[in-house]
């Protein structure tokens, strides 16, 4: 999900092969690109420890005066996904199964509309 969100933010074409590549990356933080405003867009995979990562990154950014904005894509999607059991199943399948080929087109469109609602696409904010 964070990788897909980064691709949407950068207005890049998202392929399922990108997910497969990212899956084998040993490091949780990957630099995906630089948006039109010059912000570096990164994907952070932190599993169920998002709160610990979030506190650590915020704390370190205060110590070192870094400008970091964290966007919890899981939380954003969970709070804004369309209602209904089918959508819930799609969301759960995307979140807990790893089958991007199946869920790619469904999910990317949902994610795009959620991110557009929150001004997170095409470098509006970073």
């Amino acid at each position: 999900m964070p990788l897909a969100a980064c691709y949407l933010h950068l207005d890049l074409h998202f392929k399922s092969s990108s997910l497969t590549e990212a899956r084998w990356s040993a490091k949780p933080l990957s630099v995906i690109g630089i948006d039109k405003k010059g912000n570096t867009v990164c994907s952070l995979v932190c599993g169920k420890h998002s709160d610990i990562y979030s506190r650590a990154i915020q704390g370190v950014s205060e110590i070192f005066n870094l400008e970091v904005e964290l966007i919890n894509v899981d939380q954003l999607v969970a709070a804004n996904r369309p209602k209904g059991s089918v959508n819930y199943l799609k969301f759960m399948a995307m979140r807990f199964c790893f089958c991007p080929q199946l869920f790619n087109s469904w999910f990317i469109e949902d994610l795009r509309s959620i991110m557009q609602q929150h001004g997170r696409v095409k470098g509006d904010e970073a």
């Binding site: 490091k27 949780p28 933080l29 932190c46 610990i52 979030s54 990154i57 704390g59 370190v60 070192f64």
Partner: protein, 151 residues
């Protein structure tokens, strides 16, 4: 320069290491139980705030010394922090991230579990201190090595 000691919960190992670094604990003898309890934050950091860095103080060279807990994600969180700092242009020579967790023994781990998770604070705290006193020379050596890296 900023120095960050980290461990599992940010309540014992990193607190003691950072306190030694700041001169709040002696390096020539093993501190008493009261001295451990007088360190700010010792066994008092909240498990719900794991991940947050706390400032312990400054050393004799005016370096800021912090401690933090990273749960079982120490390797991954340090790699994330290093990557972020690298992106922001901070060179590795301008900060130190030091793991203090490998130094603690079973007594401190078990005491920490009793104190923080099962709320047997008195018993757990005593066990952590007993364990810390046994491992204290190793902590002094760790801080000595970190200070050597600063020179």
């Amino acid at each position: 320069m900023n120095i960050v000691y980290y461990c599992f919960a940010g309540a014992h190992a990193s607190v003691v290491a950072s306190a030694i670094h700041c001169g709040l604990l002696p390096t020539d003898r093993t501190p008493s139980a009261d001295e451990f309890l007088n360190i700010p934050f010792y066994d008092r950091t909240l498990p719900t705030l794991i991940g947050r860095p706390y400032l312990m103080g400054c050393d004799e060279r005016q370096n800021n010394v912090y401690f933090m807990g990273m749960w079982n994600q120490r390797e991954k969180i340090t790699s994330t922090i290093q990557c972020l700092l690298n992106l922001a242009g901070w060179k590795e020579s301008t900060y130190i991230l030091q793991d203090a967790f490998p130094l603690i023994n079973f007594s401190t781990k078990f005491g920490g579990l009793l104190s923080k998770r099962y709320s047997f604070t008195q018993l757990g705290r005593s066990m952590t201190i007993w364990g810390m006193q046994r491992q204290y020379p190793a902590f002094v050596k760790l801080v000595y090595n970190v200070k050597n890296r600063l020179e």
